[in-house]
Amino acid sequence: MSEHDGQFEQKEEHEHEHHIVSPVIYLAILLALLVGTGLTVWASFIDLGEWHIAPGLTLFWNPAVALAIACTKMVLVVLFFMHVKYSTKLTKLTVACGVFTFLALIGMTMTDYFSRAWGRW
């Protein structure tokens, strides 16, 4: 992972100019975020049902949709308000690193809780 920085950083210092995001984009993102908020509240009042994937494994659509909307909003904020779309590879890598470790914490912990229900061998 660090190999990349070594190759790109030198170039980036020259290539990477300070990109100014236009207010029009900010306004569009604001509207999208507000719509997303409305959508997630509206969706929570509807029973979206569930999907039995396999015995003992069920996907409930309500929380899934709520999290999907929240994730979309997060991506919008990160890419545009926080300028990651226009940032260096290093910044993108840093964000990816944070998401990865966060998911590792939750995911690896959940492997234990999930499989505890399977009982002994």
């Binding site: 660090s2 920085d5 690193c97 234990d112 499989s115």
Partner: protein
């Protein structure tokens, strides 16, 4: 000892310490307390860390004295619990975690990458203050009556049953955690953004790579410990929380969150030590580190794998068998990059011109003891063996082999190695070689019997034990006495050398790192002008040519 040596000191009759250096630039207490200079902060850290090391060490002495006899003869069982807890808390959070990074790393990393200072000098100073606040809080805890949960704060013991000072210790570690986060953050930023022209990633000394990997763990792991301790403190204050089964919480959740940090913390403690060993082995065998790239990436690999193995601390705690299986397999993965390092150091020694100065002796100690510590870690990582051995003295011996035999040896190796750069004076060679050997012997006497005690079934964390274990415990306590001498000696002769040591000159070891190409002790700005890196790391031929050029120009 071999008479061969690479030490080249300037002519002692004419040599003097440069008048202008970071130690003499400004005077007075305030110039130290408000400094932004990474070398001064490193010095502050060195003093405070040594102080806490000796507090922790004295507590270790008390533990060994108590275990001299099978009965609780020296102190009551409750007191014993407090003593080993404070020993663990101080040694882990106030010594091992900041030891190499915050002292040696702080001192040499900016010089190694060719920068004037760390990227964020004020944050660096803040991190020292946080450390000191945490230190005072721990001392307060001890004075107020101590805490007896063990350094792991296992819930519900810490949240429900005990009425000792869990809150103040928890907050102390919270504060110490942020000190460590800021150090790690500073290192990552410095290594990415402050490298001098020509200093590519693969020209960095391996010490920098190792600290980079450890810093990633500090930045990503420590906050999880911080929030866990906040939750423990909240649980104790409002009597509701997510860990205590009496309130519907899950103690295993605490274990998950705690070990999510505390397993990577093991690598936070050992990786910078491995970095020191890479530097020392190369310098004293006059060879480029064998497989530089492999050693560099093995550090990063240890850091990444380190986040996926934490549940091997929990095999007997009621996690699911399936998860235990997965975590056990992943644990085996970490052994690979560690082994890569050991093998590459061994190959570096092969056909090298080895000399046996003190740093090298400590490094040899590290390689042997860390290998034993690491191999026994594999026993503990496999589920079946772990169930038999965990919570016995086997585990105590295992992590002391890695932490004391590994990290402390590496720390002492590094201190001796960079002492001439730090102070401008050499330490006395003969007595320090003696101290290194004493430490090694004392260490093995102390901790090897504990492996045997563990396999025989002596549990850890008890003040009393069945009489048949006494012989080995006496051995261990006797060894601890020798070990104590081994640790006291460096304090004495290093202090002595501040005034009476031989003048070291710029580069007593003929080492290649950028930090050796400037004066000792260095200027506040480290270099006269921004250095340009025009050679690979550990390029001893470049150094020779450089010296010939100097001779030619003077002549």
């Amino acid at each position: 000892m071999s008479a061969a040596t690479i030490v080249s000191l300037p002519d002692q009759s004419t040599a003097r310490i440069p008048k202008m250096n970071f130690l003499t630039k400004e005077n007075g207490l305030l110039s130290w307390l408000l400094t932004g200079d990474h070398k001064r902060i490193a010095t502050l850290y060195l003093i405070s860390i040594t102080f806490f090391f000796f507090i922790g060490g004295s507590l270790a002495g008390l533990i060994r004295l108590e275990l001299l006899t099978p009965q609780t003869s020296l102190m009551a069982a409750d007191t014993y619990n407090k003593v080993f807890t404070m020993h663990g808390v101080i040694m882990v959070f106030l010594f091992l975690v900041p030891s190499v990074p915050a002292t040696i790393g702080n001192f040499v990393i900016p010089m190694m990458v060719g920068a004037k200072d760390l990227a964020l000098p004020k944050v660096n100073l803040l991190s020292w203050y946080l450390y000191i606040i945490a230190g005072f809080m721990v001392i307060y805890t001890m004075a107020a009556g101590g805490v007896d949960t063990g350094w792991t704060f296992t819930s519900p013991l810490s949240t429900h049953y005990l009425n000792t000072h869990v809150i103040s210790t928890g907050l102390a570690i919270f504060v110490a955690g942020f000190s460590s986060i800021f150090t790690g953050l500073n290192f990552i930023v410095t290594i990415h953004k402050m490298r001098c022209p020509g200093m590519t990633w693969f020209r960095l000394p391996l010490f920098v790579w190792a600290n980079y990997a450890a810093s990633i763990l500090m930045v990503l792991g420590t906050p999880v410990l911080a929030i866990t301790l906040v939750l423990v403190v909240l649980e104790r204050t409002v009597h509701i929380g997510v860990f205590d089964p009496a309130y519907g919480g899950d103690p295993i959740l605490f274990q998950h969150l705690f070990w999510f940090y505390s397993h990577p913390a093991v690598y936070i403690m050992i990786l910078p030590g491995m970095g020191v060993i890479s530097e020392v082995i190369s310098t004293f065998s006059r060879k480029r580190v064998f497989g530089y790239t492999a050693v560099a990436f093995s550090s990063v690999a240890i850091a990444v794998f380190g986040f996926f193995v934490w549940a091997h601390h929990m095999f007997i705690m009621g996690i699911s068998n399936y998860a235990a299986l997965v975590f056990s397999l992943l644990t085996m993965l970490v052994a690979v990059p560690s082994a890569i390092k050991i093998f590459n150091w061994a190959f570096t020694l092969y056909k090298g011109s080895i000399t046996f100065e003190t740093p090298m002796l400590y490094a040899f100690g590290f390689m042997g003891l860390f290998t034993i510590g690491g191999m026994t870690g594999v026993f503990l990582g496999s589920t079946g063996t772990d169930i038999h051995l965990t919570e016995t003295y086997f585990i105590v011996a295992h992590f002391h082999f890695v932490m004391v035999g590994g990290m402390l040896m590496a720390f002492l190796s590094g201190i001796h190695f960079w002492w001439p750069k730090w102070t401008g004076r050499m330490y006395p060679e003969k007595i320090s070689q003696f101290a290194a050997v004493v430490t090694f012997i004392g260490f093995n006497f102390t901790f090897f019997p504990q492996f045997i005690l563990g396999t025989l079934g002596m549990p850890r964390r008890y003040a009393a034990y069945p009489p048949e274990f006494q012989a080995l415990n006496v051995f261990s306590t006797a060894g601890a006495t020798i070990l104590g001498v081994g640790y006291l000696l460096p304090v004495l002769y290093l202090t002595w050398s501040l005034k009476y040591g031989a003048i070291a000159g710029n580069n007593p070891w003929q080492a290649t790192g950028l930090e050796w190409q400037t004066q000792s002790p260095p200027l506040t700005e480290n270099f006269l002008e921004t250095p340009i890196m025009d050679h690979e790391a550990y390029d001893y031929e470049w150094l020779e040519q450089q010296q010939q050029k100097e001779v030619a120009s003077v002549g």
